[in-house]
């Protein structure tokens, strides 16, 4: 790969990551219209006013991050040109750290605040791609690690997300049953008399969905010739499952879709990269 192609590929990946993270920021920010897990944890310790102001501050930062991250395009420059003395670069890095930190904290608190619920124990795995993506972007433009290594981290994060969701599906997470039943209601018509049958159908489907998730997670990590197809499959499946929040519960759940932008966006980006690499090698 010549330097121009390398630069172009680098810029493409960074650009894709930025837009995905930006979307995710909007999702997280919008979800803070209601109390966060951090708020629930702070409430008995510090009271409602403090917990509420923490949520508001975090939401403001996330809205800002969502708006500015796509335009803080320093990362699209070659690593050698990243100037740490530039306040824009510092601001970019700080926002990415914040987004990664919030996504990670959210995953951990979602588990800890629902410690009695085994399904929430999968959250730190299931949310991995959300907090790994900003870290990888940060690493890209600071020149930490090779691109190959960073792509590997992205694949690992995607695999973790699919394993987390796969486990919850395999264990028949009630929320997932409701997503299937609600989606069936939307497309086939809502009828409470049929609800029990639809639940039974969901209970048959979910373990297979779980197995499929495990298989995809395994395949994305293997250096097979099918990896590109696997990535595309993961992107489509990730989008379908994220969209099921809307198909089951209505458009008011839109933050649930875009908060999961990385779940389907990162596999899509990986597929795009793999496709570009194959094209590029054919051209050589």
């Amino acid at each position: 790969m010549n330097s121009f192609e390398n630069h172009f590929s680098y810029a493409r990946l960074a650009w894709g990551l930025r837009w995905i993270i930006s979307l995710q920021c909007f999702g997280y920010a919008a979800s803070l219209a209601v109390p966060s897990h951090l708020n629930s944890w702070l409430l008995p310790l510090q009271g409602d006013a403090f917990a509420g102001s923490v949520d508001t501050t975090i939401a403001l930062i996330l809205w800002t991050a969502g708006c500015v991250l796509p335009f803080l395009g320093r990362a699209s420059l070659p690593v050698s040109q990243t100037k740490w003395s530039c306040p824009v670069v510092r601001c970019d890095a700080a926002l990415l750290c914040f987004v990664a930190g919030w996504a990670f904290l959210n995953a951990v608190l979602s588990w800890q605040m629902n410690i009695e619920d085994v399904f929430h124990a999968t959250d730190p795995f299931g949310h991995a791609v959300r907090f790994v993506a900003p870290v990888v972007l940060l690493a890209y433009f600071t020149g930490t690690g090779s691109r190959r290594k960073l792509e590997w981290f992205l694949r690992l994060a995607v695999a973790s997300t699919f394993i987390g969701h796969g486990l919850a599906a395999y264990w028949l997470k009630p929320g997932f049953v409701d997503l299937i039943v609600g989606t069936l209601d939307t497309f086939l018509g809502s009828d409470w008399r049929l609800a029990e049958e639809r639940e039974k159908m969901a209970i048959i489907l979910l373990p297979w969905i779980g197995r499929m998730d495990f298989l995809l997670a395994f395949l994305i990590l293997l250096p097979t010739k099918y990896r590109k197809t696997v990535a595309l499959w993961m992107a489509i499946w990730g989008f379908v499952t994220a969209t099921s929040r809307l198909t089951a519960f209505g458009i008011e759940r839109w933050p649930d879709l875009i908060i999961r932008a990385a779940n389907w966006g990162i596999p899509l980006l990986l597929w795009w990269e793999m496709r570009a690499k194959i094209k590029s090698s054919k051209n050589l």
Binding site: E116, P174, G182
Partner: protein, 418 residues
């Protein structure tokens, strides 16, 4: 006119009298009183019966479960009961029931639960009972079964007691006082989130001990109708409340509070859209023509004042509207709220009113007053509270009682036109 010494003395006397009378009516506002009461709770030692409670499930006119805890397994666990007071002397009671279900609490240090399921009880009847474990006795207590006629009665509703242990004790003492003063109050429906972590026996144990504070000075016990909250996951809920809903269902059941009043308790912490929805549809379809007052209760709100709506909104609200449920009680948000009547996601005088949302000790949140369903004649505010709901043939009287006994909200609901 200049204030004279006489005027000042009179003013001072009136203020003092007011202060004394307020303190007499709300002694739980005094920290020392609460601490004294808390210190006086029964000790969980050996096979000494403690943490007593009476549980209502489906048929409270004829059945009730008397439950308690012992620190060790013990051998003989019995409830002695009668239609009149026998001063706590076991041999004097006409009836006795050996505990039906005993076991070690999951994750405990050896504490055991005991459930004696009393059956064939007479409706609207006060039963006096004493619990005996290996010869150790509880104080004599009493509860009244649900009516089988159309008499007036009240039930206390409330949710969210997971944190704020001091405030929890205060609300429990308020409940005991209300129950003592008003013989019409026959039960307490808890909307869930008893504790922070449902698998933590220590937290449950503290809640159970503090629940003793709801027992009035006369020994009157308010039977509890339990709802599972999002913090109440794990096996302890079923061990504590004797698996309400039975093993075939996941803690959803209907309670016939009288021939004209039914309460449907749902579990918002499990699958809402499938079997539970079909069961809810069938239950409401069967109950609606039979009862004047049809209520539902669950933890996670469909019309929240703080958080985002739970699955109840998608799956249960259409059924509440189809079968014209009279009142729905929700918890989880840590506020006081009453929505406007809602039908088809709009304010509609024929719609369903949702009240809640949890104030049995938890720190209160600021409600989001911009939500359309909370605007007047709806209401949202904050404060530790219980909801006293009174059923008569003419109306449901709803009022929200705060710790200082002031009324934060009240409303009247009339029977729906058939």
């Amino acid at each position: 006119m200049k204030p004279t010494t006489l005027h000042l003395t009179l003013l001072l006397s009136i203020s003092l009298l007011k202060g004394i009378s307020a303190n007499e009516k709300t002694p739980w506002l005094d920290e020392k009183f609460v601490n004294r009461k808390t210190d006086g709770l029964s000790k969980l030692e050996g096979s000494n019966p403690a943490q007593w409670r009476v549980i209502w499930k489906t048929d409270p006119a004829n059945k009730a479960t008397v439950s308690w805890t012992t620190a060790t397994q013990g051998k003989n666990h019995v409830v002695h009961y009668d239609l009149m007071s026998k001063k706590g002397l076991p041999k004097n009671y006409t009836f006795k029931k050996v505990s039906d279900r005993n076991g070690r609490f999951s994750g405990s240090g050896g504490e055991h639960f005991h459930h004696a399921r009393l059956a064939e009880l007479k409706p609207s009847t006060t039963y006096w009972f004493v619990i005996e474990s290996d010869g150790n006795l509880s104080p004599e207590m009493h509860f009244t079964t649900a009516p089988m006629d159309d008499r007036d009665f009240s039930v206390i509703f409330g949710g969210d007691s997971r944190t704020g242990h001091f405030e929890r004790a205060q609300v429990n003492l308020l409940m005991a006082a209300l129950s003592e003063e008003n013989p019409e109050i026959i039960a307490f429906a808890h909307g869930g989130d008893y504790i922070v972590s449902g698998k933590n026996w220590g937290q449950w144990s503290r809640w159970l001990s503090q629940h003793e504070l709801t027992v009035a000075a006369s020994g009157k016990v308010l039977p509890i109708i339990p709802t599972r909250g999002n913090h109440d996951g794990g096996p302890l809920f079923d061990e504590i409340f004797d698996s309400p809903g039975g093993k075939e269902r996941e803690n959803y059941f209907s309670t016939r509070l009288s021939p004209q009043v039914a309460l449907v308790t749902l579990n918002s912490e499990t699958k809402a859209g499938g079997a539970q929805r079909t069961w809810l549809g069938k239950t409401l379809e069967s109950l609606r023509p039979k009862v004047r007052w049809l209520l539902a209760e669950y933890h996670r709100p469909a019309w929240p004042a703080v958080k985002k709506p739970g699955a109840a909104k998608e799956f249960w609200v259409p059924l509440f509207e189809e079968f014209d449920v009279d009142l729905v009680v929700e918890s989880d948000g840590h506020v006081i709220k009453r929505t406007v009547p809602i039908r088809n996601e709009k304010k509609d005088s024929t719609g369903v009113v949702y009240v809640g949302e949890g104030g049995l000790g938890v720190p209160q949140r600021k409600p989001d007053l911009s939500r359309w369903y909370l605007r007047s004649p709806g209401l949202a505010t904050r404060g530790h509270h219980v909801m006293n709901i009174r059923f008569t043939p003419e109306k449901i009287g709803y009022k929200v009682v705060l710790l200082d006994r002031s009324i934060a909200d009240k409303a009247i609901f009339r029977p729906r036109k058939k």
